[in-house]
């Protein structure tokens, strides 16, 4: 019951965020110079043509009315039709989204698989060879930009040694190199956090209690300390998934993957306003949804959060 109330509260916050973002996007788009009707009509269109296009787009109506229409459409998940292809924006997004999501999830999996075990070992065996390895890894990971790493990986594993395809999509093998370049940099941050969190929990008083109870060291560390240490780690991993979606935009360019990033970038080049608007809202929605899920997961791990 308490949990349900908590979940509903977070859901309300999510909706509020999306509403706020839609509003900001609506007004930002209106403020940016340039009339979409002019873009559509082309340079040598007549005044009547332009007026007709404006009427079709609804941009001839007062701003408040436009805003209302906009919100109602967004609520129905209707972002209009792309100016360049004439297809519904939503359909275009959902055609491309699975690839980007797969890329981000794989990137996260790589990041988590690298960072959490290495971070824990670094914390448990501080100043050991493992710890130094972790430090070197995280320094390099934070210093190297993911697109550069991507290019490097391509040169090495697709050109020199032909283990992975150079470009294209459609199979798991196409995703490996981009996911590694995405996950690597994120793993560096996650590793630092894992180590710090674990070190901190190991210094808490309840660890003394666990030892005084006669628990073996592995239970003290991997049960008592780790469960507490996981709280910030889970939050961070969730936030990283959001960043991965953003980072995918760049990586998709490097690896010529037809994902959301490519779609939105084309939209920007072509001044395809409905596509850009819809894209931003979609990303915001996904981001909020991830945060919502992270909150739920966090509260499942940390009983304290549900009060309040």
């Amino acid at each position: 019951m308490r949990f349900l109330r908590f979940a509903l509260k977070r859901l309300g916050r999510l909706l509020l965020t999306v509403l706020l973002i839609s509003t900001i996007i609506f007004f930002v788009i209106r403020v940016i110079p340039g009339d979409p009707a002019l873009v559509i009509a082309g340079v040598d269109a007549s005044q009547e043509d332009i007026a007709a296009i404006r009427a079709k787009l609804g941009t001839d109506k007062p701003l408040v009315v436009q805003y209302g229409t906009w919100l109602a459409a967004v609520a129905r998940f209707d972002f209009g039709k792309s100016l360049s292809t004439g297809q519904p924006v939503v359909r275009m997004i959902f055609e491309r989204f699975p690839l980007t999501l797969a890329l981000a999830l794989l990137g996260l999996a790589i990041s988590v698989a690298l960072a959490i075990p290495l971070g824990i070992i670094s914390a448990v065996r501080r100043w050991s060879a493992w710890d130094y390895l972790g430090m070197v890894f995280s320094q390099v990971g934070m210093a190297v930009p993911s697109f550069w790493l991507g290019i490097l990986l391509l040169l090495l594993f697709a050109v020199k040694i032909r283990v992975f395809p150079l470009f294209g999509s459609g199979s798991f093998r196409h995703l490996v190199l981009p996911a590694v370049s995405l996950g690597f940099a994120r793993a560096a941050v996650l590793l630092r956090l894992t180590r710090a969190s674990m070190v901190e929990e190991m210094s808490r008083e309840y660890i003394v209690t666990a030892r005084a109870k006669g628990l073996p060291e592995r239970m003290v560390k991997y049960r008592h300390a780790l469960k507490n240490a996981m709280l910030p780690i889970v939050t961070m991993a969730g936030i990283q998934l959001g960043y991965m979606l953003g980072g995918a935009v760049i990586i998709e360019q490097v690896f010529s993957l037809p994902g959301l990033g490519r779609l939105f970038l084309t939209g920007v080049y072509q001044r395809d306003f409905p596509l850009v608007q819809g894209g931003i809202i979609f990303i915001a929605l996904v981001f909020s949804l991830i945060n919502f899920l992270v909150d739920i997961l966090y509260s499942a791990l940390n009983p304290k959060i549900r009060i309040g």
Binding site: R211, A212, K213, M219, K227, N302, P303, K304
Partner: protein, 342 residues
């Protein structure tokens, strides 16, 4: 001092512990502690902060971090077996099973991420090999024993959902779960309200009656010690300076430090007497004064006190040499019985 014979529960002899610091001399936290306990005895261990109480208990538990801690000398005989000679694994099996501990601040010493029940049952499974259902039943029984009414609900709670008093009761339930023969209670009531303090003390007394475990009750508060302890040891700068049955210690204290300690607290039966603060402070463990460590603060101190360390000797009204250990009154001072200046 120290309990002789085979019946002793605990016999600590000449325990010396020091800590290696980053710079300067090692800190000599314990400088030859002698401490004997009979089975079922409640021993109060009293001293100011920094006197070595917690180092003593941590050392008994085998939980001193090494480095920086170093055991320089001594032995800890627990039921006749020297704990210091055990391997780390053997030592671990003693912890929680035979020697258990209750800590000062239950909110910090309970794991916030686990339910109370889990924190109790994991010990039962580990030390006594109980299955889940059996351990849960035992946990409920323990909850009732320590006065956690509505045991099942409390066991399903997380520490933050309980009050301070309940948390300490839960901590005690955890500590007594494997029926240890020695329970170390390190300032178990310091973090609690006065009314709760008494409840917890009464609980400790009741548990001793019921389970017959020896309890080492560590406190800086003589009033609490007076309520629960059978015998009291006073520790100063890493040495036991006086040990005696409760009545003897409170009625006729022999060591100047004990006397000053008693004068520094309001005790109900000493109405009208003046309260005094002990001048100075506990010496730094890196620079313990030579001779009797208390001599710089002692109103009786003479020259020899600054050079000769007084050995612990027995002073008692009793006669027989085979008096029960708990009846001994031992003092480490050159001037036992000397008239007290006003």
């Amino acid at each position: 001092m120290g309990t002789q014979g085979n019946g002793a529960l605990l016999d600590v002899r000449g325990l010396a512990v020091s800590f290696d610091g980053r710079s300067g001399a090692p800190a000599r936290a314990l400088r030859g502690v002698d401490l004997g306990m009979a089975p079922g005895e409640i021993r109060g261990l009293v001293g100011e902060s920094g006197s070595g109480k917690t180092v003593t208990s941590t050392c008994l538990m085998g939980l001193l971090p090494s480095p920086p801690a170093r055991i320089d000398a001594g032995e800890i005989l627990f039921k006749g077996r020297d704990l210091l000679g055990l391997s780390a694994e053997e030592r671990r099996r003693v912890r929680g099973r035979e020697i258990a501990m209750v800590f000062q601040e239950p909110s910090r010493y309970l794991n916030p991420a686990f339910k109370i029940g889990t924190q109790i049952t994991e010990m039962l499974g580990l030390h006594l090999g109980m299955g889940k259902a059996e351990a849960r039943a035992k946990a409920e029984e323990l909850a009732g024993l320590v006065g956690l009414g509505g045991g099942r609900r409390v066991l399903a709670s997380y520490p933050h959902e309980l009050s301070g008093g309940m948390k300490q009761r839960a901590m005690i339930a955890m500590a007594i779960s494997c029926n240890p023969s020695l329970l170390i209670a390190d300032e178990p009531t310091t973090a609690l309200d006065v009314t709760l303090q008494l409840q917890i003390l009464r609980l400790i007394l009741r548990l001793r009656e019921g389970l017959g475990m020896g309890i080492l009750f560590i406190s800086h508060d003589l009033r609490l010690v007076r309520i629960v302890a059978d015998t009291v040891s006073v520790i100063y700068a890493g040495r036991i300076v006086e040990s005696a049955p409760r009545e003897a210690l409170f009625g006729s204290p022999l060591h100047p430090y004990t006397r000053l300690l008693l004068q520094s607290i309001p005790l109900a039966n000493k109405r009208g007497s003046r309260l005094r603060a002990i001048p100075g402070r506990v010496p730094d463990a890196q620079a313990v004064p030579a001779g009797c460590a208390f001599h710089p603060r002692c109103p009786l101190a003479e020259e020899r006190c600054s050079s000769e360390m007084p050995e612990s000797t027995e002073h008692a009204a009793g006669h027989a040499a085979d008096r029960h250990a708990a009846d001994r009154h031992a003092v480490a001072c050159h001037f036992v019985g000397k008239t007290w200046p006003d």
